[in-house]
């Protein structure tokens, strides 16, 4: 319990890491609910990795362009944010466009993007040793050094995303559930689709920068997938997913701190164990 007291202490050295984990834990599942409902789970797996490739490209750009001086501090941060946001949004809008045209093999495209972006990130960072040391930690799920500005950026973006999702939930749900009905009701379906993709893209790009792709993926998808079979309505589904994400984020951080594990893999294994328990419980309850 001493370790718990330490973590909860406002002067705790890694307090920003705790806060940023909690923010991602509460906010990502709310966005993930829409990924699950729209049956875009594969995209939830691939986008954080693609976002990471954007970060890696931005950080190693100076090497590829022949300027061997490194980018530092605020410039590095800005480049990483730009790389993450541009890659995520370009991918999500590109895939949505191709899907609406109804051509090709969607899962094939997403799978290819995932594996290529993972390999690309590693190759890019291997040529950029200074960036590699810090960012490789993040890619592995180590949340250690979170600056105040990172924490503020994450808090502001996530508050904005959650606020917009909650405020316009009826419209987002209508367009997701019955697109044709929405058209007959003269709703601007394209606008609402763009809105939801923007929110998904923003959440993933900011979460990847602060907690890394592994935790982002886990918090986006695992809480909604665990909660769905037990939820009685859409509100319960969203709220319980968010609460589970937040609680798992805190519990994961605590276990990782006590056992000296990396936070990301601890969070993912914890959520994976909960998923297994939920699977067994729903089988026993006959909900499978």
């Amino acid at each position: 319990m001493e370790s718990l007291r330490e973590i909860l202490d406002p002067d705790f050295l890694l307090r920003n890491s705790v806060y940023v984990s909690l923010i991602a834990g509460f906010a990502c599942p709310l966005v993930g609910v829409f990924l699950v409902l729209r049956r875009m789970v594969f995209l939830g797996v691939a986008l954080p990795q693609i976002s990471s490739a954007g970060v890696a490209l931005a950080l190693s750009m100076h090497v590829w362009s022949g300027h061997f001086g490194n980018v530092h501090g605020d410039n590095e941060r800005l480049a990483a944010v730009a790389g993450s946001v541009i890659f995520t949004l370009a991918t999500i809008f590109g895939l949505a466009f191709l899907e609406r045209r109804g051509r090709g093999f969607v899962e094939g495209r997403i799978g290819t993007l995932y594996v290529v972006s993972l390999a690309g990130s590693l190759l890019l960072l291997s040529q950029c040793p200074q960036a590699e040391s810090g960012w490789m930690d993040l890619f592995k799920g180590q949340i250690i050094a979170v600056s105040n500005s990172d924490l503020q950026l994450t808090a502001v973006v996530m508050a904005l995303v959650v606020g917009v999702l909650v405020f316009f939930r009826r419209e987002f749900l209508l367009v997701s559930f019955d697109r044709e009905m929405a058209v007959t009701l003269k709703k601007n379906v394209m606008l609402w689709d763009v809105g939801i993709y923007l929110l998904i893209g923003l959440t993933i790009s900011i979460a990847v920068l602060t907690v890394g792709p592994l935790i982002t993926f886990a918090f986006l998808l695992l809480p909604p997938l665990i909660v769905h079979p037990f939820a009685r309505n859409m509100t319960q589904f969203a709220v319980a997913s968010s609460v589970l994400g937040g609680v798992a984020a805190f519990a994961g951080f605590w276990i990782a701190y006590v056992k000296d594990y990396p936070v990301g893999p601890t969070d993912v294994v914890l959520l994976g164990a909960l998923y297994l328990v939920a699977f067994v419980v729903k089988k026993v309850m006959g909900k499978g």
């Binding site: 049956r39 009826r170 559930f177 009905m181 058209v183 007959t184 009701l185």
Partner: protein, 237 residues
């Protein structure tokens, strides 16, 4: 377009991308009429329906809606119920409430007046007894009633139904037929896609018949003669 017309199609072409499924479709729906839309599988019934509702763009020709008092007519759409994903945890009432979305500003709460309107629609289709249950857990006939209630909640000038009796048992099908008859007797203009010829004969006054990419339009007794019915049955197998 005649004075009493609610909807007029003039040489309409419908299809997907560059592929025309039906062409040269011309007919008029008058206010208070009941029209059946028939054709064998793949004839383009749903494509035509979606085109006139604006869900897919038309490839040619004109769709003219008769405006009443300067107000654009509203079409209440009842899709095939299997097109709705059971992963959504909506109750029947929540699905029906979607019908009022066009009259409620984005982001604002559904006013009490609109909630009462939804209740009236649920009552009209006799769905109050099961509307609080999860939509995906309802039987085919119950889902259809909820979707009709949702369409009615739009306060439609035209009710458009895509295969409302497909895949439901005989008793539920009979109940839906009686419901549609009641709505039509109340003055509702109805356009219904249906494979069930006896149902169309029983309810509709006129028929749009799609075959070989073309449409024929006329009274039920003329178009649904024995020869055409045999042709349709042969085409659907």
């Amino acid at each position: 377009m005649s004075a009493n017309a609610l909807l007029s199609l003039d040489r309409l072409e419908a299809g997907y991308g560059r592929s025309v499924v039906v062409s040269d479709v011309s007919f008029e729906l008058t206010k208070g009429s009941f029209t059946g839309l028939l054709g064998s599988n793949g004839a383009g019934k749903s494509t035509l329906l979606k085109t006139l509702l604006g869900i897919i763009p038309s490839l040619g020709g004109k769709i003219i809606w008769g405006a009443e008092g300067g107000k654009a007519p509203v079409a209440g759409y009842v899709p095939q119920r299997d097109s709705l994903d059971p992963i959504y945890l909506f109750s029947g009432r929540e699905v029906a409430e979607m019908g009022v979305c066009a009259r409620v500003a984005a982001g604002s709460r559904v006013p009490q007046k609109e909630k009462e309107r939804v209740n009236e629609c649920l009552k009209e289709v006799d769905a109050l007894g099961f509307c609080e249950q999860r939509f995906s857990h309802l039987s085919g006939g119950q889902k259809q009633r909820i979707l009709i209630a949702r369409a009615l909640a739009t306060n439609p000038d035209l009710l458009v139904l895509d295969e409302p009796t497909a895949g439901v048992d005989a008793a539920a099908s009979r109940a839906i037929v009686e419901l549609l008859r009641k709505l039509h007797q109340g003055g509702m203009t109805i356009l219904m896609v249906n494979h069930d010829l006896p149902v169309v004969r029983e309810l509709a006054q006129q028929v749009v018949w799609l075959a070989n990419g073309k449409a024929s339009f006329g009274p039920v007794n003329e178009l649904l003669n024995a020869e055409r019915m045999m042709g349709l049955l042969a085409g659907s197998h």
